[in-house]
Symmetry: C2
Subunit: 460 residues, 2 copies
Amino acid sequence: MTDTFVVVGGDAAGMSAASKAKRDDPSLEVIVFEMGQWVSYGACGLPYYVKGEIESLDDLVSLTPEEFIDDRDIDLRLGHEVTAIHTADKTVTVEANGESFDQAYDTVLISTGARALEPPIDGMDLDGVLTLHSMHEGGAVRDFIETKDPDSVGLIGGGYIGLEMAEAFRGRGLHVELFEMLPHVLEPFGEAVAERVEEHLREEAVDLHLETAVDAIRGERGRVTAIEADGEDYPVEMALVGTGIAPNAELAEAAGIELGETGAIATDEYGRTSAEDVFAAGDCAEATNVVTGRPDYVPLALTANRHGRAIGETVASGELTEVGPIAGTAVVKVFDLEVARTGVFDEDLAAEAGFDPVSVTIEAESRAHYYPGGTPIRIQLTADAESRKVLGAAMVGREGVAKRIDTVATALHAGMTVDEVEMLDLAYAPPFSPVWDPVLTAAKVLGSKVDTAQPVEADD
Amino acid sequence: MTDTFVVVGGDAAGMSAASKAKRDDPSLEVIVFEMGQWVSYGACGLPYYVKGEIESLDDLVSLTPEEFIDDRDIDLRLGHEVTAIHTADKTVTVEANGESFDQAYDTVLISTGARALEPPIDGMDLDGVLTLHSMHEGGAVRDFIETKDPDSVGLIGGGYIGLEMAEAFRGRGLHVELFEMLPHVLEPFGEAVAERVEEHLREEAVDLHLETAVDAIRGERGRVTAIEADGEDYPVEMALVGTGIAPNAELAEAAGIELGETGAIATDEYGRTSAEDVFAAGDCAEATNVVTGRPDYVPLALTANRHGRAIGETVASGELTEVGPIAGTAVVKVFDLEVARTGVFDEDLAAEAGFDPVSVTIEAESRAHYYPGGTPIRIQLTADAESRKVLGAAMVGREGVAKRIDTVATALHAGMTVDEVEMLDLAYAPPFSPVWDPVLTAAKVLGSKVDTAQPVEADD
């Protein structure tokens, strides 16, 4: 009897799992239900599509539906929405073309992704108020710019999407008003890094409003005319809402599957949920943080691909394959800056996770002092005072940041102390680094600070 | 009684040791004897000085002699050559201004550096035959170009210096004939990487002659006119010889101090030599390779600085401080390419060191497939079949290589397996990397190859 592997949602995690399972065990029946029309696409590329650096939405697709169906022999059904998972019967209910049917599974993967959050403010339904998470939404933003030719945009939210879109809109020649409720943009990157990013946004003529809650989006005749914030009206002709994303965990929750504290689907080290033969991966699921050992919700592309693949391997082989922990490593391009993070460098978060954090922020040049074109790299590095283990880092600079963060990410996976990081033999040549790489300098300064840190009382 | 710390040679290792020792113990008498007139300079910047990107030799200096003397209270003596170390008496003999005297020490550091090798060929004494290792030599090369205005240069040797100088000379508009005896340039970076570098050199109009031994440098009226190689004459108006460097170990050897198999001064994990209270560091000394655990000679700036500093700490504190192992991490810019290496990726060298090496070479893009401007990165990655530990890597590409090598270097220090490297949470954003970083792709391919590698017989 052929085993049936049902995948709910056909983006990175789902298609990775389906492909890997089918490749490892061609006798497996692999069915993917995708409610939309796109699979396996690079949503991270949407800002560059809007900016115009990428011509077509099709360019963002890694593999077409036809390639999955014809070349990989996967039973991919577009326009099919799974509306219920019956874990006792091991079936899912599917709706498509106005009809409904049940499909049996031996194993099911929930890879339903996430969606853009919509804040509870007036005016969200006006024409010209857009979000950016799916391919469809990306298409709508570019269409709006190209057909309505707005002169200005209000960006609500200063996270990844908000900042990448600030660059995209400025590239399109729009005036940008950016609103962030918190004291700083890019909250997961910390204040030291954010301050440098904010300076740069202002250099790039973005009108930045920090600690500024948007009260409403104003419109006339159904079209956006202004953002109302802190009692003032800022005239704009469109609005893009990037106030975060939420996991699509409702389907799992309705099936009685356990969610974690983060609101995403709880999983174990193999990607298993609380229900038998039900896995979850990607932007709908939690993962284990390598620094804290605790569940975390960091919905990023690599994790989705990697966890999907590992689950596909488990399904095909019948042997449990670990999906692997995450370090929460991330990088974002903000105009000419590279902004990166990994681990737990925020002292409050580190303390909450049970550490005794010590943190330093340093600046060092990206090149040898005499080599032309060097620019400062700012690094925040944090370690635990007792174990001396490095807990995380954030970095910002015009060059040499995007992949330099990986040195610290690798150290986190290895559980290295700040002293071990200081002793790393890192690459040096005048065009690429000072003799002492900025990471080594940060580790040296942090090591000294840890030496002099007050010992914590045992009963603290 | 004040202790006396004598340092022989005032470049990176020597001045780092002197500065650290004096800072940690201001009561220490620290005397540095430097035979030349320059201390603490960035010799790695000389090619860019010759190219004209750096204006003055003074720009390469980190700290002036006056700063060491006045600000750091170090007794720095320029133009002072140590001609003998008497380990039994604990004195050194010094020559300066035509006179000679003895100086007693409690501890001495040999940091005499290295020198450019001069191959035994005819014509080395012609006007216009130059080497490039010291500040003096760098000055002479640029002077020759600016005063004699040559149209062409013969580069003898395709190592770091040869390739950096090819870029510098092309930048000056000279025609470049480059001669390398071996089948490939950049021998320590391996064939897979070298082939890509050679392609690029040809794109940059460098006339490349591989497996071509130079027989002689020809001249007329004392001036260079041609390079004779393989029976042919290649007309050139100057010659730069970059056939490697040799450790200045003669002073140590004459003092009865043990040299290693590499010809450099043998040292232990604290930088101690075979003689009591005699340390050695920098380009004259060996270091321990973190992959093989064996002595190695990789004369590079970071090691010199780091080992000097550690020895300074030991001298000041009286407690032994480890100098730290090296991974042999290096990066070099060759025109528009970044070329990097770390560890032991060459299969023959790995086998000699007792490993059962398995190696793969992959190509992956530097950016997401849809993001404009991506270029291929080639990576050779090697692991031990039995332990699955990663042993080393080499990389080449137009971007994203210089600091990506540090991920592997960090993994080497941590002793990670190829499977652990494959599971690293590395940074992804479309402008900087594919979702699966090229290092992860290399690890995945290598892991599969290790899986299928023939097991080695126990008695092999």
